[in-house]
């Protein structure tokens, strides 16, 4: 029990840990104030035993109780405030930490861990922590501290009763350990079942159209129902296992109270304890019972806290790419790759590529799908690290840069553009929240976005639906170009817009790309013949290697993939879906 509480504290940031520790300390004072009810009762009982209740007795007991309540109330309010702040802040920070951490994870992580798992950790698991953990940890701490305080207090009245309580507390802790152990084996199962459930629900909802189209209603809803049933079974199992242990624990708490009261009576009868002490002891027995039971009831939930902390730590422990580096401003933006290799699982995707891209030149990468074009670009931009060889920018290994100073050199325009649920202006500003509106509009105009943005209901202040749902593919791409325009980085990585545009957009998109790439170092995965023709350098990538390299004219004169590619492009452009009547 103590171990888990310690683990939870270690999980929190320094600042929040201090908040929790302060609030536990405050809990001790609170317990002291609450324990004042014992002297208040003692005053009254003493008066009763004397057979004469005076106004002074009444006022005194009222006074003591008033101090007790005011003190405990104020302290508890402060302590709860600290706990709540600490709890929510810890989880907010952990969520940010996870998000930050994911930026630098190797790509393998995202295929080994399903979307359901990641979603579950950042939602369910952390929610467990922010709600359950803080409350449970605090209530358990408080319960135990109050009990300890009472033992000390009782020791002043009568050592024998204090001893009875101490034995009771030990038995209680033993029962609790057994409870924790049983819960310990179940908690990871519960979290697994939660993850599975989230995953199945996501799959069912996202694939709803397919579920309908391919008669999967039975099959897929069957899988979902199974996950729901399994989840409910795990939860039921957990309760079923815990209930008998919790009852045993609560029985021990109650029996301790009974033993205390019984001993008090016996000691009174054999004359070794006066009546006042005996009554106070009986009353203390009830108070002990209350605090032990509070601690006991909540302690079962500690295991969830334990497992949740583990789950979050597991993600945070996944090794990241090495992101420590220096702030470097390179003298030039020449990009070189020297015999680089990269494998994903066992599949070698880039196999010994060397290349040199001079500043302000245009390099087109072409080749069959699956040949490694996208991977190569990802390696050059250091989204992933090479297994062998080096990539350098301006003569410095990209791994020597710190992430931010490296990325400040690059802009990206890729196929799958993600726009944030925010205004158009902020989506274009992205990363430069201070930029004035004029600059945003200027970038939008250059990227041929201005007209369609003005046609939207609130112009630049229109909020884009999640995932950019309310804009067409071409429009989204142009906004991402405007974004790159704003950043004005010297190196542009471009996955040339494929067919993901409407006819009237296609023209504007080409304009926008032209404006963006003017006077820049451009590395593009190219599909359009016109752009390829005008590139300073064409790299033909197949099966992870550069198979051809040169200008359009040079490559066209050679037998090879490039010439075939040109041929096919001409055919595809002239192609149409035939009618069969």
């Amino acid at each position: 029990m103590v171990e888990i509480i310690r683990k939870f504290f270690a999980f929190c940031s320094e600042e929040n840990r201090r908040k929790f520790q302060t609030s536990v300390l405050l809990g001790v004072f609170q317990a002291m104030f609450e324990a004042l009810k014992i002297p208040a009762i003692a005053v009254m009982v003493k008066a009763l035993l004397a057979g004469q209740v005076t106004g002074r007795d009444i006022l005194l007991s009222l006074g003591i109780m008033a101090v007790s309540i005011a003190g405990a109330g104020l302290i508890k309010a402060k302590a709860s405030m600290l706990q709540t702040e600490g709890g929510y802040d810890t989880c907010a920070k952990k969520r940010i930490e996870i998000a930050e951490h994911m930026r630098y994870l190797p790509m393998g992580f995202f295929s080994d861990n399903s979307l359901g798992q990641i979603t579950s950790v950042t939602t369910n698991v952390l929610e467990n922590l922010e709600n359950v953990a803080t409350r449970v940890v605090m209530l358990v701490c408080e319960g135990l501290l109050t009990t300890a305080l009472i033992i000390v207090m009782l020791a002043f009245f009568d050592l024998r009763i204090a001893l009875v309580l101490l034995i009771g507390l030990c038995l209680f802790l033993a029962a609790n350990t057994s409870l924790q152990k049983a819960a310990g084996t179940l908690a990871p199962r519960k979290i697994n079942a939660d993850e599975k459930l989230v995953e199945k629900v996501l799959e069912y909802l996202q694939g709803m159209a397919e579920v309908k189209a391919y008669h999967l209603t039975g099959k897929k809803s069957g899988e979902l129902n199974e996950a729901i049933a399994a989840n409910s079974k795990v939860n039921t199992d957990m309760e079923m296992t815990l209930i008998p242990r919790m009852s045993a624990q609560s029985l021990i708490a109650k029996l301790t109270g009974v033993a205390m009261a019984l001993c008090a009576c016996i000691f009174y009868c054999n004359g070794t304890m006066d009546a006042l002490t005996a009554v106070v002891m009986v009353i203390s027995a009830f108070i002990v019972n209350a605090s032990l039971e509070t601690a006991g009831n909540y302690s079962a939930l500690l295991r969830i806290v334990d497992a949740s902390v583990d789950r979050v730590q597991e993600i945070l422990k996944t090794p990241q790419m090495d992101i420590d580096g220096e702030k470097i401003t390179p003298e030039n933006r020449d990009i070189k790759a020297d015999n680089i290799e990269f494998s994903y699982d066992l599949r070698k995707i880039i196999d010994g590529v060397s290349l040199s891209i001079p500043e302000k030149s245009v390099t087109a990468i072409v080749g069959p799908s699956g040949g490694g074009k996208t991977t190569l670009v990802n390696l050059l931009a250091r989204f992933w690290d090479v297994d062998k060889g080096t990539v350098s920018l301006g003569g410095h290994d990209v791994r020597d840069y710190d992430m931010d100073s490296l990325m400040s050199n690059f802009s990206f325009v890729f196929q799958n553009v993600y726009l944030f649920h925010d205004t158009i202006a902020d989506n274009i500003r992205f990363g430069q929240s201070e930029a004035p509106m004029e600059e945003v509009i200027a970038a939008a105009k250059k990227a041929c976005c201005h007209d369609f943005i003005m046609a939207l209901p609130d112009g630049y202040d229109t909020v884009i639906g999640e995932g950019g749902a309310s804009l067409s593919g071409g429009e989204k791409q142009r906004i991402s170009i405007a974004r790159a325009m704003m950043k004005d980085a010297p190196v542009i990585f471009l996955d040339e817009a494929t067919a993901n545009v409407d006819p009237e957009n296609e023209h504007d998109l080409m304009e926008a790309i032209r404006a963006l790439t003017n006077e820049k170092t451009v590395i593009m995965i190219a599909h359009r013949l016109k752009t390829v023709e005008h590139a300073d350098q064409i790299l033909v990538i197949d099966q992870g290697k550069i198979v051809q390299q040169g200008t359009h004219a040079e490559l066209l004169s050679q037998e090879g993939i490039y010439r075939n590619f040109i041929q096919e492009r001409r055919e595809a452009a002239g192609w149409k879906i035939k009618t069969v009547q």
């Binding site: 009254m44 067919a499 192609w575």
Partner: protein, 338 residues
Amino acid sequence: MRASIIPFTFAMVIMPATMVSVLPIGGLLVRSGSLSSQDFVTVIILSVGVITPIITLMSYSDDIRTMGTIVNEVRSVLDAPEMERPAEGEAPKDCSIRLNDVHFSYKDKEVLHGITMDIPAGSYTALVGPSGSGKSTIARLIASLWDADSGSVTLGGTDIRKIPQEIYSDQIAFVSQDNYLFNMSVRENIRLGKPSASDEEVEKAARESGCHDFIMSLENGYDTMVGSSGGHLSGGERQRISIARAMLKAAPVVILDEATAYTDPENEAVIQRSVSKLTQGKTLIVIAHRLSTITGANKIYVIKDGQVEDSGTHEELLEHHGLYETMWNLHMEVKDNG
């Protein structure tokens, strides 16, 4: 949360502190003689005993409020109107499709303002128009993914709301920009199109959709798991697998909604060749952005702002000198002729 702490904690402290009232009031009662000392001691002991249940009650009380919110959220999902489809009914007689003055609103905004269209069985129809004009909405209505607010969509003369979902989905193969792949093997994903298909049939469909080569290069070939929502594959690869799946399904009505949007031109040629094989003799509805690919359609509908602006064959539309001509000219300007 913070706002509720102060009243909440005071309640937590005061309520269990029954002593504050029991002691002085009891004392007064004893003094006035209406309460015996023995009874008072018992009362004191009992009021200490009442602490535990009160703490329990208090500490769970905000869970009860949370429960209320959750119940409401669940209700709002369960109360959402369902699409009404009969459990049993007749299969449609043929595969002609008709939209009759169809209106449709997305949230509060009407996006289709009375669309009427006649799509004869076995014909080839194209929908073109600026982005956001409502083309994809029309495709979704025909695919019975959404229901029209007013007006009707009929298949073979029967209102599609009267055709059981199962029967209807057998008639339609719908390939969109973002079809979903389930986290199972590539082979099983394609086989969804036709559960009885042999491995050879699956591979044939894959080959015809330009998937075979990249599938073979995956670590476990056809048995490679695609990851959740197909995350292990690129957008273009996912799209080709969903085309293979639709090919295998062999439904009499095929709807292609920008089905090759993420595909690079190198593969688009392969796919388009097989799409024309796939669609032989079928009712074909295509939403395309590359106008040059749909010039052969029997009828092209130009959709703008949720209305049919114009319709006809490619040649007829060019003669009308309208929106279609503008779009066509823009397209020709950027078209890639090498």
